[in-house]
Structure formats: C-alpha cells, structure tokens
C-alpha cells in the first residue's frame, strides 16, 4: 500500500515538475516573441516561415486525404443511425457540426503531432546530443529564440489553418458519399451543411486548434531539451513526446468541449 502511495506521489511530483518547467518554457517563448522584438532583438521571420510551411503546407496532402475519408465514414455512420429514425436528411448537419467542433481539430492535431511534434523532439534532441545547443549558448545565441520561437510561431499559425482545410474537406467527404452513394440531393446537402453550423461551432473548433498547436509545439520542444545520452535517448524522448502530446491534446479537448458545451 505504502509502495502504491509512494509511486503515485513520485508520478505526481514528476508530472508537476514537467508542468512547471514547460510553463517556464512557454513564458520564455512568449518573452522572445513579444518583448524581445520590441527591444530591437529581432524575430527570425524566415525560420518561422519555413516552420509554417513544413508544419502546415507540407501536411496538407495527408490531412486532406484522411479528412475526406473520415468525412465519408462520418456520413455513413450517421446515415446508419439517422435513417433508422427516418431523419436521414439530417446527415449533412451532423457531419458539418461534428467535423467543425470536434473531428477536424482533433484529427489535425494528432496528425501534426505525429508529423511535426515528433520532428521537433528529434531535431532538438539530436542537436543537444551533438553539443549544438551548447554551441549556440557559448556563441551568445539564445536557443529559445533560435529554435523554439520559429517553431512556436509556425505551429500556432499553421494548425488552425490546416484545421480549417480539414473541416472543409471532411464536409466534402460526407457530401460526396451522400450524393453519390446515399443518393441525397447535392444542392440541399450543401445548403443544409452551410445552414447548420453556427459562429459558435466555428469558434469552438478554432479555439481548440490554437490550444492544440501550443500543446504540440511545447511538448515536442520540451521533450527535445530533455534528451540525454545518444541516439537511444532521442528515440525514447520522441516516443514519449508523441504519447504525451496526444494525451494532452485530448485533455485540452475535453476541457474546451465541456466549456463550450456547458455554455449552451
């Protein structure tokens, strides 16, 4: 029993330590994005743009493909249920609202965690192992400014935009399935889709995607700085980065879904 309490305590303290250190990283990053440029220390626009392209633009093909398929799946599953109640015409409403509020932001976040969050950890971890982070510091260059800020800006801009594309593609996926397979009227489907979503649905998806982006970037970078040892350390932390990031994305998802749900 005491072993269990001890174990729980240790896990809790380790988690608390991770959380506090990650908060400090977030504050440092915010400093280098907001305060430092005002003091004439510059911002690395080119590097941020490169990250934006790599996180956002480069992920579009796979995000769109998966969204299209998920949209079709969603349409089939909702048709299966709704038609048994004789309200099959509600499929577009359900697909559009579910995609915008939940599925598109979550799916995008999980995909980008796998593509970019893991890459952040591997990149920074490898740099740490090969003393490149030390080299930056002894040259008087701040690793947060150099490595974290461009990733942070790139990710927080890219994820909401990719989420918007994913939402749209998901609706199209549902539309194609309904029009081609369920034989629903195309015009009515699109009209219903457009009418069913409200500004609040959009806000839910957007706010979620911004916070998902922050989680993905912070966790990826944080785990990267934690790397110790050699190639094995990079591998371990990369795995841990993806697991932690997906877990926290879902925790954040629950919190925001609850907030937007409870407000009616």
């Amino acid at each position: 029993m005491s072993a269990l309490v001890g174990y729980t305590g240790r896990v809790f303290l380790a988690g608390l330590h991770d959380f506090l250190t990650a908060c400090k990283l977030l504050v440092d990053t915010a400093f280098w994005i907001v305060v430092a440029p005002l003091r004439g220390k510059g911002l690395r626009f080119r590097a941020a743009t490169e990250q934006f392209v790599s996180v956002g633009y480069d992920s579009l093909p796979i995000v769109m493909l998966i969204s299209l398929l998920l949209g079709a799946i969603l349409a089939m599953q909702s048709a299966y249920q709704l038609e048994s109640f004789g309200v099959g015409y509600l499929v577009p409403d359900l697909v559009a609202v579910a995609a915008m509020r939940e599925l598109a932001p979550l799916m995008t976040a999980i995909l980008i965690t796998g593509r970019s969050g893991s890459a952040f950890t591997a990149e920074i971890g490898t740099m740490k192992v090969s003393e490149e982070i030390d080299a930056l510091e002894v040259m008087g260059l701040n690793p947060i400014k150099y490595l974290v800020v461009p990733k942070f800006i790139g990710t927080t801009l890219a994820v909401p935009l990719v989420t918007a594309v994913a939402t749209f593609t998901m609706i199209i996926g549902g539309f194609l399935l309904s029009a081609l397979y369920l034989g629903q009227d195309a015009t009515i489907y699109l009209e219903r889709s457009a009418d069913s979503v409200t500004a609040k649905d959009f806000a839910t998806g957007f706010v979620k995607s911004v916070f998902f982006a922050i989680v993905i970037c912070l966790v990826g970078v944080y785990r990267g700085f934690e790397v110790e040892g050699g190639a094995e350390g990079v591998g371990k932390k990369t795995t841990s980065s993806v697991v932690t990031s997906i877990f926290l994305v879902i925790v954040v998802d629950v919190i925001f879904t609850y907030m937007f749900f409870s407000e009616g």
């Binding site: 003393e131 030390d134 080299a135 040259m139 008087g140």
Partner: protein, 267 residues
Amino acid sequence: MAYSAENLIEVSDLVVKYGDRAVLDGVTLNVRRGETIVILGGSGSGKSTLLRTLVGLMRPSAGCIMFDGMDFTQMSHEDQLELRKKMGVSFQSSALFGSMTVAENVSMPLYEHTKLEKSTIDIMVKIKLELVGLSGFEDYMPAELSGGMKKRAGLARAMAMDPEVIFYDEPSAGLDPIVGAGLDALILKLKQTFELTSIVVTHELASVELIADRVCMLDGGTVVGFGTLDEVKASPHSYVRQFFERRPNEEGEDEAAYLRTLTGGNA
C-alpha cells in the same frame, strides 16, 4: 587570489555539483594572457565539467571565475553574453549545425553579433576557413566532412569573432595520429599568430608535450598538479605519477571498487 593584470582568467575555490555529488571540489587556477593551459585528467576527473563551467554552460555552486577582472559568475545575463563574444569554443564533437553549410556555420556569429555587410562577412569566412586549412569547402555540409575537417570547421567558427581566449574540448579525440598532429600544429599556429590564450582539455600525452605552456592536472574534482609539464611530471603525487607512467589501477583497488558497485556503495 589577488587580481593580477597578467592573468586573463582566475578561478578560485570553484565547486560544481551534479545533485549532491561535487564534480569539482575547490578548484583554483589562473590562466595568463597568451599562454596555453592544458587541463589533464582521467575520465570522470571533472575536466570537461571545468571547461563547461568556464564557458558558462554550467553554474558553479561556490567559488568564482574572474575573467579579465570581472566575476563571470556574478554578472548579469546580458554582460555574460557580451563576454562570451570574447570566447571561442571548439567542441569535442565539433557541434557544427547540421542543417547549414560550412560557410553558414562560420558566418552565423558574425551575422548575429555584427552589422557587417554580407560581402564583408563572406570575405571574413574565407579568411577563417583558409586559416584552418579548409579553403574551398565553403559549400560543403558538415556530414560531408571527415572527422578532422569537422574539427577544423568548428575551430573556424570558434575563431569567427576574433576571440581573446579559445577553449578546446578534446581536440584530437577520435582522430588518427596524423590528423591529430595536424590539429596540434593548428592550435600552436593560432596561438602564435593571434597571441591567443588557449585552454585545452585532453588526455593525449603526446599533444600535451607539444602545445602546453602549463598543465593543470585534475583527479576526483581537485587540482593535484599545476605548473609546467616538467614540474608536474616531477610531482611526487601518486595519481600524477601513475598517470604519466601509464600504470593501471592495482588489481585490489579495482576489486574493491567493483564490489562497491555491486553492493550499491555500502560495502
């Protein structure tokens, strides 16, 4: 230790800890302007930690490091950054940025710390690369270079800001004797050409004889010998004697240590 203008760096009673374990325990030494100090010691003696502390990558828990009369450990972060521009560090793994070419690596500190025109920086990069014998390799990626060339490129980057003092972490580790000797010659050349103060961490006895003005020998985080190579070699200290005579640890000692590791240090 009283401050003397002759000394560029003065370290007194430096203590550095990993957790509760003191890796450096009261290290005191001075580095005169323009001399080459070699920090010698076995694995785990604390020599790499000393170097990392001197360049500001680790914080000491006690003691002070005076750099040109200013206390490096007490100054503000901004001042530390200024001071770091006067230091160059050549890393053991050369630590070149893998995503940048050799020229971009060398020019990086110049772009970040100076307002020079690109054309001027290009010329400076060429000069630095020529200095280390790497002319013509501007557009190579670090992965395309051999071990010795990487070290040289790292050195060119360390020299980019024309530092007053340069730190070398194991410059010839992992290199064949000929390439290693080439690096020793380069260290000597840089010292003579620029009157550079150099601090070299190594355990290669052959290069120590060639480059060292003075030697600081560490064991278990304390200085066990400090002076010219001949003075240190003449020391009666048992570890120093063992090191220079290349004698292995006694069997008995090893067994006791082995037993301690098996029992978690309680034997």
